[in-house]
C-alpha cells in the first residue's frame, strides 16, 4: 500500500476518532456540558491525537529503517565471488536495486506476471532486454547472484510494506480505542491535549538543534570518508590544487584559502571605510529627513540577491576593469574575472551590512558621553574620533568580523566573478578561486560521491563551516568581553 494512502487512512481514522470522542464525552455527561471537565472538542482532539501520534511516529521510523534492513538482507545473499574484479559491493548493490526496480516496472506494465517475477531464472529468458523495454537500462550482464538478491530485495520489501500497513493502522486503532475508553466526563482532556501541543512546540524548537547536528554530521562523515581515500597531510600541506576526475589529483587547500582571504580582504577594504563613514555620518550628522532617505537607499543594496551581484561582476565590472587594466590599458589583467572584480563587487554588497550594524552600535553610545566632550570644547569630529568610536570599538570590530565571515562564505559573486584557476599569486588582477567556488564546481554535475574529487567538497565545506563559525563566535566574544556598561 503506498505511503500516501496509509497517511490518508490514518487521518480518516483520526477524524472518526474526533467525532466519536466528542460524542462519547457529551453523552457520558448526559447532554449536560457543564458536567464535563473540558470543552467537548478537547475530548475529540484527545482521541484524534492518540490515533495519529503513535501511528505516524512508527511510520517515520519504519520508513527510515526498512531500506537498511532490506539492503542488509539482499547484501548477505551476495557471495564474495559475485563482485567482479575492479567493482565494489556498492556498485553491485546498485545493480541489484535497478534490477528490482525493473522487475517492479515490468510487473506494473504487464510484461511479467507477479509469480513469474519471483521465480525468474537467468537461463530462462533475456531479462536485460525485458527490463530495457520496461524502461530500465542495466549496464552489465545480470548474474544469477544479482538476480537472486534482487528477488529477495523485492520480496523483503513487499513483506515490509504489508507489515508496515498492518502495524501502522493497528496502532492507530489501538490508540483510538484506548483514548475512547478513557473518555468520561471527569477525564482531564484539555490537560492531555495541551501536553501534546507542548510536545509539538518543543519538537519545532529542537529542529534548530537537529539542523545543526545534520550539518555537522553530513560534513563530518563525508570528510572522514574523504580523508580515508586521500591523505589529510596532502590536503593541508600541498600548495597545488589540480583535481582531475581521472585520478592522480592534487588537492591542496592553500591556493583556495589564499583566494578566499585575498578576495575577502579587498571586499573589506572597500566596505569597511565606506560603511563606517556612512554610519558615522548617518548617526551623528544627518538630519532626520536625510536619514530617512539615505538609510533605506543603502539598505536596498542588502536586499538585492547575490546572483544579481554575480552577474554585475561578470558582465559589468569585469569588462570595465579589463578595459582599464587589461591589454589595451595597463596590461595587468588577463581576463574580466579576477580577484579585484569579485572583491570590489563583494565590497559593494557588504557596505549596508557594515553600515547598519555600526549605525546601531554608534547610536547605542549614550548621549552623556557626547555632551561631556562638547562641554570640554571638542568639535563634533573630535568627539567622534576620540570619544564615540573608542566607546563603540568592540561593537564595530564585531561588525567587521561578521562582515568578514559573510565575505568568506559568499558564493555566487566568486563563482561568477573570480575565475576558476587556483593559484597563489599576489597580483589582485589575476584570476583566483575560493573555497566556496570549488565546493560548487566539485559537487555539481556528477552525483557520484565515491571519488576524492567530489568528496573533497565536504572537507572544504567543513573548513568553511569552522572558519565562519569561529569568526561569529569570536565576534560575539569580543562584543561581550569589551562592551562598556554605561547604565
Amino acid at each position: 500500500m503506498p505511503v500516501l494512502w496509509l497517511i490518508l487512512i490514518v487521518l480518516a481514522l483520526a477524524v472518526a476518532g474526533y467525532v466519536a470522542g466528542r460524542a462519547r464525552a457529551i453523552s457520558g455527561a448526559g447532554d449536560d456540558r457543564r458536567a464535563l471537565h473540558s470543552l467537548p472538542s478537547y475530548y475529540g482532539w484527545n482521541v484524534a491525537m492518540k490515533v495519529m501520534v503513535p501511528a505516524f511516529l512508527v511510520l517515520i521510523v519504519w520508513l527510515i529503517a526498512q531500506p537498511f534492513i532490506v539492503n542488509t538482507k539482499a547484501t548477505s545473499l551476495l557471495p564474495e565471488s559475485a563482485i567482479p574484479e575492479g567493482s565494489t559491493l556498492g556498485l553491485v548493490m546498485s545493480d541489484v536495486r535497478r534490477v528490482a526496480d525493473g522487475l517492479d516496472l515490468s510487473v506494473a506494465q504487464g510484461l511479467l506476471s507477479a509469480g513469474d517475477a519471483a521465480t525468474l531464472t537467468v537461463g530462462g529468458s533475456d531479462i536485460r532486454a525485458m527490463l530495457g523495454s520496461a524502461g530500465v537500462a542495466v549496464g552489465t550482464e545480470i548474474t544469477p547472484e544479482v538476480l537472486a538478491a534482487a528477488q529477495s530485495y523485492r520480496s523483503t520489501n513487499a513483506t515490509g510494506d504489508l507489515l508496515r500497513s498492518i502495524v501502522v493502522i493497528g496502532l492507530g486503532l489501538i490508540g483510538g480505542a484506548l483514548a475512547l475508553a478513557q473518555t468520561n466526563p471527569d477525564f482531564r482532556a484539555r490537560n492531555a491535549v495541551e501536553r501534546g501541543i507542548r510536545a509539538i512546540l518543543v519538537g519545532a524548537a529542537s529542529l534548530a538543534i537537529l539542523t545543526t547536528i545534520g550539518i555537522v554530521l553530513s560534513l563530518v562523515f563525508n570528510t572522514i570518508e574523504f580523508f580515508r581515500i586521500y591523505p589529510a597531510s596532502e590536503f593541508f600541506g600541498s600548495f597545488t590544487w589540480s583535481p582531475s576526475f581521472g585520478g592522480g589529483s592534487q588537492l591542496g587547500i592553500w591556493p583556495l584559502l589564499w583566494g578566499t582571504l585575498y578576495i575577502s580582504l579587498i571586499a573589506l577594504l572597500v566596505s569597511v571605510p565606506i560603511g563606517l563613514f556612512a554610519a558615522v555620518y548617518l548617526s551623528e550628522y544627518a538630519g532626520p529627513k536625510f536619514r530617512a532617505v539615505a538609510k533605506p537607499a543603502l539598505e536596498l543594496l542588502a536586499g538585492i540577491p547575490t546572483i544579481v551581484y554575480g552577474l554585475f561582476a561578470l558582465l559589468t565590472v569585469g569588462p570595465l576593469l579589463l578595459s582599464v587594466f587589461g591589454r589595451d590599458g595597463l596590461g595587468w589583467m588577463q581576463a574580466g574575472t579576477a580577484v579585484m572584480t569579485a572583491g570590489l563587487v563583494m565590497g559593494i554588497m557588504l557596505i549596508p551590512f557594515v553600515s547598519s550594524l555600526s549605525d546601531d552600535i554608534i547610536n547605542a553610545v549614550p548621549q552623556s558621553l557626547r555632551d561631556g566632550s562638547y562641554g570640554l570644547g571638542a568639535t563634533k569630529s573630535e568627539t567622534i574620533k576620540q570619544v564615540i568610536l573608542p566607546a563603540a570599538l568592540p561593537g564595530i570590530v564585531g561588525a567587521i568580523l561578521l562582515a568578514a565571515s559573510r565575505a568568506i562564505g559568499e558564493t555566487m559573486i566568486v563563482v561568477m566573478g573570480a575565475g576558476a584557476a587556483a593559484r597563489l599569486s599576489l597580483n589582485p588582477f589575476d584570476a583566483m578561486t575560493t573555497v566556496t567556488a570549488k565546493i560548487v564546481s566539485q559537487l555539481t554535475g556528477d552525483a557520484d560521491f565515491a571519488s576524492p574529487e567530489a568528496l573533497v567538497a565536504f572537507a572544504l565545506g567543513m573548513t568553511l563551516f569552522v572558519m565562519t563559525l569561529g569568526l561569529n563566535v569570536f565576534a560575539l566574544f569580543i562584543v561581550r568581553k569589551y562592551r562598556e556598561q554605561y547604565d
Binding site: R190, E194, I197, R198, L201, A204, A205, L207, A208, I209, T211, T212, G214, I215, S218, L219, F221, I274, G275, A278, V280, L282, E284, A294, L298, L300, L301, I304, P305, T306, I307, V308, G310, L311, F312, L315, T316, I351, K380, S381, E382, K385, S405, G409, T411, M412, V415, M416, T436, I439, V440, L443, A447, F449, F458, L464, F465, T468, L469, N472
Partner: protein, 450 residues
C-alpha cells in the same frame, strides 16, 4: 604665589571668540573634511546602487522585446497531409523537417516581392534569419487547426537571435565577420524587410511565460517554467517554515523555562542565521539526496533546503512580534480562566500575526533570491523545457528555479543569453519588490503600538 599677575613680556596668544587663530582654523578644517568623508561615503554607496540598478535596466530591458518576422506561410497540402484526410494523428507523422522548407520558401517569396537586391538564390539561403523554433510553432498550429491546410496563413515567427541582436544593436557587421551563423548579406536583407515592416520588434510574452531552450536558440528561451519551479519551492517553504517557525518561537517566547536546553536552542538559532548558504546546500545534498534518496533537481528538495535556511530568520522576527504583545493581554486572559495554551493561541498569537506575516514574507523573499544552495542539489544544469504536468510532478519532477535559471543563462556562451539573464533579474527583482511592498503595507496597516 597666589595671585597670577601679568609680569609683562610677550603679548598673550590671541585666543578669543572674535579672532580665529591657526589652530582653530585647522580644527575647523578637519571638522569639515571629516563631514565630507561621511557624505562621500554615502554618496559612494548611493552611486553604486544607481550604477547597479542602471546597468540592470539598461542591459535587461531589451529581453522583453523580441524581433518577429511576419510571414504568410503557404501550408502546402502535398507536404503536410498527403492523404488529404485532415486527420491530426496522420499529419503528426510530418516532423518539423517537413515544415522548415515551407517557412523558408515563404520568407523567400516575401523577400522577392519586396524587390530587394540580393546574392541569395532560394529559401534555404535565408534560413539563418529564422529561429529554429519556427517550424515547431507552425507545426503545432497546423495540428491544432488541420482544416486550414492548403491555405496561406500569416504567422509571426521569431527571428534568429543574430537578427534580434542586430535590431537591438548587439550584433553589427564587424562583429559577425567570424560568425558562421549569419552573413552581412542577411543583415542587408533585414534592413530592407525592416523598412517594409515585415521584421519588427514587439513585446515578448514568451520570455515571461515560456520554457528554457537549448544553447543555440536564445531567442526562444523564457522564464516561465523556472518561475513555476520557484513557485513550488516557495509553497514548500511557506507550508513548512511558517508553522515550524511559529511553533518554535511560541515555545521559546512563551513556555521555555530558562535552562541549559533553552540556551542551547537559542545559541543554535543565532548561529544558523550566520551559516553561509552554501553550507545549507551541502546539508540538503547529504540529507535529502544522499541519505533520503529524494529526486535530484526537484523543487521539493530545494524547498526543504531553503526552509532550513529561512527558519532562523522567521524565528527571530516572530519572537520579536510575540515580544511586542504586552503582558497585560496574557494576564487578562489568564485572569478570566484561560489556560496558558489558550491565552497564547487565542489572544497573543492573533495579535502578533501581522508582525509574523511580515517577517515570513521577508524570509520568503530572501529564499526566493537565494542561488548557492540550489547549485548543489542539481537545479542548475537541468534545462527546464517542460512545464510540470500537475501539482504532484510540480513538486517532484526536476525543474529549475528563477535564480538558477539566470545563472544558467549567464554561463552560456552566446551573448544573446546575457540579455536574457539581465531580463530575468528584472523579473526577479520585481517579485522581491512586490513581496517587500506587501510586507511594508501589512506592517503599516496592522501594526499596533501599545
Amino acid at each position: 604665589m597666589t595671585d597670577a599677575t601679568y609680569t609683562g613680556g610677550k603679548e598673550p596668544a590671541k585666543h578669543g571668540l572674535l579672532t580665529v587663530d591657526a589652530r582653530t582654523k585647522k580644527r575647523n578644517a578637519s571638522e569639515k573634511r571629516f563631514r565630507l568623508y561621511g557624505l562621500a561615503a554615502i554618496g559612494a554607496g548611493v552611486f553604486f546602487l544607481v550604477v547597479l540598478l542602471g546597468s540592470i535596466l539598461a542591459n535587461g530591458i531589451g529581453a522583453f522585446q523580441q524581433t518577429f518576422i511576419e510571414v504568410p506561410v503557404y501550408l502546402e497540402e502535398a507536404k503536410l497531409d498527403k492523404t488529404g484526410n485532415r486527420d491530426p494523428a496522420e499529419m503528426a507523422k510530418v516532423s518539423t523537417f517537413g515544415y522548415s522548407p515551407l517557412i523558408q520558401n515563404s520568407l523567400w517569396k516575401v523577400i522577392v516581392d519586396s524587390g530587394a537586391q540580393t546574392e541569395f538564390e532560394d529559401g534555404g539561403d535565408v534560413k539563418q534569419m529564422i529561429s529554429a523554433s519556427a517550424a515547431a510553432k507552425v507545426r503545432d498550429w497546423v495540428l491544432a487547426n488541420p482544416d486550414r491546410v492548403g491555405e496561406t496563413v500569416d504567422f509571426q515567427i521569431l527571428a534568429s537571435s543574430r537578427v534580434d541582436g542586430y535590431l537591438k544593436g548587439r550584433v553589427s557587421r564587424e562583429s559577425i565577420a567570424q560568425d558562421k551563423n549569419i552573413d552581412a548579406a542577411h543583415l542587408d536583407l533585414v534592413d530592407v524587410l525592416r523598412a517594409g515592416g515585415t521584421i519588427h520588434k514587439s513585446f515578448n510574452w514568451e520570455f515571461i511565460t515560456g520554457a528554457d531552450a537549448s544553447e543555440s536558440r536564445a531567442e526562444q528561451a523564457g522564464l516561465g517554467v523556472s518561475m513555476l519551479g520557484s513557485l513550488f519551492m516557495m509553497i514548500t517553504v511557506l507550508l513548512l517554515a511558517l508553522p515550524i517557525g511559529v511553533a518554535a518561537s511560541i515555545y521559546l517566547e512563551e513556555f521555555a523555562p530558562t535552562n541549559r536546553f533553552t540556551d542551547f536552542i537559542e545559541v543554535n538559532i543565532s548561529n544558523l542565521a550566520a551559516v553561509p548558504s552554501i553550507v545549507f546546500g551541502i546539508l540538503g545534498l547529504a540529507a535529502f539526496i544522499q541519505f533520503a534518496h529524494l529526486p535530484q533537481s526537484a523543487p521539493l528538495v530545494g524547498g526543504l533546503t531553503l526552509t532550513l535556511m529561512t527558519l532562523p530568520t522567521i524565528v527571530i522576527s516572530t519572537r520579536a512580534a510575540l515580544k511586542a504583545v504586552p503582558p497585560s493581554i496574557r494576564d487578562a486572559a489568564l485572569g478570566v480562566g484561560a489556560s496558558k495554551m489558550q491565552a497564547t493561541f487565542h489572544h497573543v498569537l492573533p495579535l502578533a500575526m501581522p508582525g509574523i506575516l511580515t517577517g515570513t514574507i521577508i524570509g520568503l523573499a530572501q529564499a526566493l533570491g537565494e542561488t548557492a544552495p540550489l547549485l548543489l542539489i542539481g537545479m542548475v544544469g537541468y534545462i527546464a523545457t517542460n512545464y510540470p504536468e500537475g501539482v504532484f510532478s510540480g513538486f517532484l519532477s526536476p525543474n529549475s528555479a528563477m535564480p538558477a535559471q539566470i545563472y544558467e543563462w549567464a554561463k552560456r556562451a552566446d551573448p544573446a543569453y546575457y540579455e536574457r539573464a539581465w531580463g530575468g533579474i528584472i523579473v526577479l527583482l520585481l517579485f522581491l519588490l512586490a513581496m517587500n511592498l506587501i510586507a511594508i503595507v501589512l506592517r503599516r496597516k496592522f501594526e499596533r503600538r501599545w
